[in-house]
């Protein structure tokens, strides 16, 4: 087990390095840097070029990309993520708070997706091929067919403006409900479908038939015997969905003014603020990789048939 974890962690190193390399290569292709993007159209006169050059030198933006990568790696080795050109602040100070916000939002969204996905999946499996099943599937499919920003605005219109039960501006504990719902609904449908099919699969198994023969009620069968086993399958796709949630968060965050790293990422790229962009990419990639590692470990622990081979 420890050996497996060690090997998996070791495999993360080339992936993280690869991500760094890819982004630095792309950066070399992007025609402007943060300083130029920030001051062009604002600075005029002779002092402008000097000022831009001075700032570029300060942030090593005047060097070739591989040297910038070297500077970045040596900073990173000292736990330094660099400094945001636009915000005049160390990157770590900028993203810490926003990262927590995004984790909170994706966590809440995942919870909503799980609650919705599991209940509808279980009900659909139990009432297989009835109108209930068909309706649940259809609504779920429609849910994943809706652009998040469209759905988000509809939610605001209904719950904030018409019903006045949830706030628009992110103040107070209720503020998370709407964005989490808008984000969670997208992932609920696939969860529901996986739950449904694995429930159907499990319910056919011998031990369930045996329990049924012993006179266990259908409800007990579903909750106590079938669900735990179906959840194992669900777990594997939850890991993958974290990636989607992190990616999907950016639109939802923008619409709901939920100030997480998704919203910041869009700004960072528009500002060409590379240290910031790079840090966001690293942090989300690391989160994704770690969540999947944990999901795999849990999967192996929960399902003794799975062998851990890296």
């Amino acid at each position: 087990m420890a050996q497996y974890v060690g090997r998996r962690l070791l495999l993360l190193v080339p992936v993280i390095l690869g991500i760094l390399l890819v982004t630095f290569l792309m950066k070399a292709l992007i025609p402007t840097d943060a300083v130029t993007a920030m001051y062009q159209g604002q600075l005029s006169g002779k002092s402008a070029e000097k000022a831009i050059a001075a700032l570029q030198a300060k942030y090593h933006l005047d060097l070739p990309w591989y040297r910038q990568l070297w500077f970045y790696l040596s900073d990173l080795a000292h736990g330094n993520l660099g400094e945001s050109v636009r915000l005049h602040k160390p990157v770590s100070a900028v993203i810490g708070y926003r990262y927590l916000n995004t984790i909170m939002l994706t966590g809440a969204a995942l919870a909503i997706a799980l609650v919705l996905g599991l209940t509808t999946g279980i009900v659909a499996a139990a009432k297989r091929n009835t109108w209930l099943d068909v309706t649940a599937t259809t609504i779920g499919l429609f849910g994943i067919s809706m652009p998040a920003f469209f759905f988000g605005l509809l939610l605001i219109l209904v719950f904030s403006v018409w019903l006045r039960i949830l706030p628009v501006v992110p103040h107070g504990p209720l503020a998370i409900v709407l964005p989490a719902f808008a984000l969670g609904i997208i992932e609920a449908a696939p969860l529901s479908q996986v739950t449904r099919s694995s429930m159907i699969d499990v319910m056919r198994r011998d031990y369930i038939q045996a329990a049924r023969a012993r006179g266990a009620s259908e409800l007990a069968l579903t909750i106590r015997h079938a669900l735990p086993n179906a959840l194992i399958v669900v777990l594997t796709i939850v890991g993958l969905q974290i990636g989607n949630l992190l990616g999907g968060a950016f639109i939802v965050e923008t619409i709901f003014s939920w100030h997480g790293i998704g919203e910041l990422a869009v700004n960072a790229i528009q500002w060409r603020d590379f240290a910031l962009t790079q840090a966001i990419i690293l942090v989300s990639a690391a989160t994704y990789l770690m969540v999947n590692l944990v999901a795999d470990l849990l999967y192996a622990w929960l399902d003794p048939r799975v062998e851990l081979t890296a």
Binding site: T32, Y39, Q40
Partner: protein, 525 residues
Amino acid sequence: MLDRRQFLLGSTAVFGALALTGIVPALAQSGKVAHMRLTIDPEGLYNVQSISLVVSDVLGNYLVESLVYLDEDGKAQPWLAKSWNVADDGKTVTFKLKDGKTFHDGTKFDAAAVKFHFDTIMDPQSASPSKGMIEPLSKVEAPDGETVVFHFSKPFAPFINLMALSYFGFNSPTAVKKEGDSYARNPVGTGPFMFDNWVPGTRIELKRFPDFKQYRPDAKNQGPAHLDGVVLDVLAEEGVVTSALQTGELQAAELTADAILPLKGDPQFEITTDKNAKNLMFLEFDYKKPPFNDHDFRDALSYAIDRESVLAAAYGGNGKIALGPLSRGIPGYDDSVAQKYGTPYDPEKAKSLLDAAGWKEDGGVRAKDGKKAQFSVLSYAGSTTERALAVIQANFADVGVKVDVSTSDWGSFYPRLLKPTWDMDLNRWTWPDPNVMSQLFRSPGHRQLLRADPSIDEPLDKADTTLDTKKRMQYVSDAQKAILEDRRIVPLITDWPITVVREELENYRLDFTGRLYSADLDIAA
């Protein structure tokens, strides 16, 4: 050890419950607090480092004060300065300061604080974007506590009026020196509100400065602010802002014409437009490239655009069409020149001018010497520019010129202008002084594409160096005429920014430069 089944069920339940409660700290605010909208989170609240619109708005409205303000005629009046004197050669300006002002941290506001601000701007180490605005300034002296002397390399006419802008509002030198790089996150000024808290990306909280004294005679409230605090909420999405105004979560917001539609006619909201607006949307060209180096071709295009439709599409009619190259809100705008030398919408004239210039109709799109009249227009992404471009594109198509539109975020747009891969661009600038014309249209221009043309450059230079207002305005007028005759740009519209204020918020007023009288604000009990 936990049973696997228990673990799964238990963790699902716990996780769900935890995440759903959402642990967001509730905002504990007491007293009279107004919530206002910010379109984006400011990059830092230090006017030496950042001059973006949002930074100048937050600083100028609440935190910092300037030497002068502009009255409703656009004339400079004493604010923190008591009086000023311009030397006969125009190269020295001496300000006398009023007494008794202190910064939020208790530091005295004096000549040394003024000198410190300009010295920091001029220090190459600070790479200040404000430096370019006061290029001719060479030295600042503070012979005593209430006297500041500005020295220039050549006479600089816009200087006094520029002093009204929040770029030249003052920061506590003590705080700047103490905080160093983090000052931009802890600004200290002399304004009616002081900085309290900043939740990055989310909101900025300000509280009343209890020792505030109002030095502007045109403010209603001469004492400390009525409000206990102001919260500036960062809300990017227009539709969300509309909703937040409806639910009362915001008291005031600047909004696009589209977003105010649901609020119109509702007595809860007062919708005001800033008819002093000093912006101009215009079309310009890559003058180094044929056919845009040809005056007649530019002339033809100038007549092809239906500005009223552009205004309707982009701003819902909020604004005025522009025929002159200077925004009509800026002192020195000459309407008679605009009417006489401007190019009102006349598609027939545009067609005949194109015919005369050798561009022959050829199945919808014109052509000359085998080259089709097909060009690219660049602009920055946004609902207003995209709608304006939709109309312009259709107008040009009507006269047989095809244009392909390409919009991108500002970060890609502006650098693209510096490469020779485009033909036209749609731009919009805001500036309170007529010297905006020299910044943009004097050779070599803001994109280094304009060839020297004495008929334009001379009046512009003279306008910037003539201190006598009457004479200066004559040069400003001459420059407008010359730019129009050259068809250097196609002026399109000036839009009026819209503000929506909820009924409970009283005395929401902006001055000539768009600064809010924030000490006057009050919330009805």
